[in-house]
Subunit: 348 residues, 2 copies
């Protein structure tokens, strides 16, 4: 460590980062070295030990949302060790284990930043949008968005919690799901298998909803007390008015009215998956029973810290399949094949 | 009064009711006499002095919702005087002025009834669904749904509050709109012109949204501090992220994403009008800023009583056009013409 900034800790001299980048939409990842430049006074650099692969990484590689900039280094479920901290960083130490999720910066001055909700900041910066993510030797982030990871959570499991975990957990906090609720999880995959565990630990009765019964046994082990297969004739109609909270993790265009109709009076359908088309929802189904459809998203740092604490206490862990970082293309192909059970993690 | 039931008050001998009924979808109203049968022990009979005409009456006449039973006596914005009360009625007196709205009964035993929210009861009975409404000399209702009207509200103004008023006011209570909110009202008509007044009295900053500027001056008088005309190029896009609460009273199929995009983070679009088609809403617009789309509906008796008290204190009154009850067909045609400013009331 040749230099320590005033009030901060660690090496602020830039070293090149060895990463994997997509150079155009839908392309393979290729080795890519970049110079991250001087470390900002409020930034940290994190040496990556693990990084999850999220469906959002695939969407960004493919430019599905028309916001990708190339070369694009994916990776926003980062776990690693702080190796350098800018001079204004006082709450993190070099050598400390942290996670970095979808967000890596915010304006710091708007009403949302100032009220502890920088996830709602209009000027927020995302880890893989015009910024290089965690599929590499290191990643940079504003220090506020490097979240210490509780000792009880092994690094290989922490990555998927940093995005997938907070995506399903934050709505439970922000929309005040009650432990007395009957809840349902639509889509038993990377997000859904964590939602089952979180809702079970939250005290809810949890129903898993999937297209077929192939994941039923596993869903029940993860906390589901009931299972509905959408391909079973009448399964959804038979569950009318049953749930207080339904969280949908699917990216398919489904019959949304069938899900709205499964809500009890005052119930909420929370959307965290991003279907290609607009949701189509009948007004009357909402009106008659004061039902709500809401968007759920990754949390602010305080939300993520609470989620990690809750996950540690309740032993909520993603089920993962590990690949060496160098096998990133094989790992991506595996996730694209929809055969992953359930979350893919790259290991340095 | 030849008979008084034990514990109740008033005449329980049935007298025929002289009403106006539609005998088939989209038909004219015709004089219709019916025998309401013996008064139930928890029922009251209300002699009608005034009854509003609501768009829901037109939808029921036309069988738009496929739930109409003929002959159908519309009218669910009823104001009148209790003339008879069943023996179990103790909270109302013969001669008392009351209003009757959309709902006239509920099971009384489910969790929603027992927790004071019979508006969410699955077995609820509506005043004009397989039950004869207020376009006549009298109407019957379960006593719980006959709501005393504060002295400060003249009868001719009370009717439209009983359905239109509670439709826009109940969501403000149930979804906990804050007086610090910036609010918008979409559609300045029978519902919208009351929503402007209620939100203004609630402490909100209120923007009126209408297709053209034709109602701007009136909307500003009713409480709007700003006005957006949807036909003005870029008007809605220019109001991105502006509102905490938008209440939509329109029954047209509009560009819902334009309204979602006008919501601030954590904001809610509340639907109280019933468009013919499904709402089409992009998931990403909900997800990015934790926005919500919710259905709003008429309240339970306690909600209606609070709304009436609030309306009385703040002098919230519908703007009405009165017709004699005998001119019911002319009154209906006037409302259908969309020229009414804003609420049509029949007077006995």
């Amino acid at each position: 460590m040749p230099f320590r900034g005033t009030g901060g800790l660690g090496d602020t001299e830039a070293m090149p980062i060895e990463a994997y980048a997509a150079h155009q939409p839908k392309s393979q990842l290729e080795p890519f070295r970049y110079d991250p430049g001087p470390l900002g006074p409020r930034e940290v650099e994190v040496r990556v030990t693990h990084c999850g692969i999220c469906h959002s990484d695939l969407a960004m590689i493919d430019n599905d949302w028309q916001i990708s900039a190339y070369p694009l280094v994916p990776g926003h479920e980062v776990v690693g060790t702080v190796t350098a901290a800018g001079p204004e960083i006082t709450h993190l130490k070099v050598g400390q284990r942290v996670g970095v999720g979808w967000q890596c910066g915010s304006c710091g001055e708007c009403e949302f930043c100032e009220s502890g909700q920088p996830a709602l900041c209009a000027q927020q910066r995302a880890t893989i949008v015009q910024h290089h993510g965690g599929w590499g030797s290191a990643v940079r982030t504003t220090g506020d968005f490097a979240i210490p990871i509780p000792d009880a959570i092994p690094s290989e499991f922490a990555g998927p919690l940093m995005c997938g975990g907070t995506t399903v957990f934050t709505p439970m906090m922000h929309y005040a799901v009650k432990p007395t609720a009957r809840a349902a999880v639509v889509g038993i995959g990377g997000l859904g298998h964590m939602a089952l565990q979180f809702l079970k630990a939250w005290g809810c009765d949890v129903t898993a909803i999937s297209s077929t019964h192939s994941k039923e046994a596993e869903a029940r082990k993860l906390g589901a007390s009931d299972f509905l297969a959408t391909k079973d004739e009448g399964a959804l109609a038979g569950a009318a008015n049953r749930f207080d909270f339904i969280i949908s993790t699917v990216s398919a265009d489904v019959d949304w009215n069938a899900y709205v109709n499964m809500l009890r009076p005052g119930g909420m359908l929370c959307i965290v998956g991003v279907p290609a088309s607009d949701l189509r929802i009948g007004a009357m189904g909402l009106i008659l029973f004061e039902r709500q459809v809401a968007g759920g998203r990754t949390g602010s740092p305080q939300d993520i810290a609470r989620m990690l604490d809750f996950a540690a206490r309740h032993k909520v862990r993603p089920m993962i399949e590990k690949f060496p970082m160098a096998d990133v293309n094989r790992a991506v192909a595996h996730l694209r094949s929809e055969k992953a059970r359930y979350r893919v993690v790259l290991e340095a």
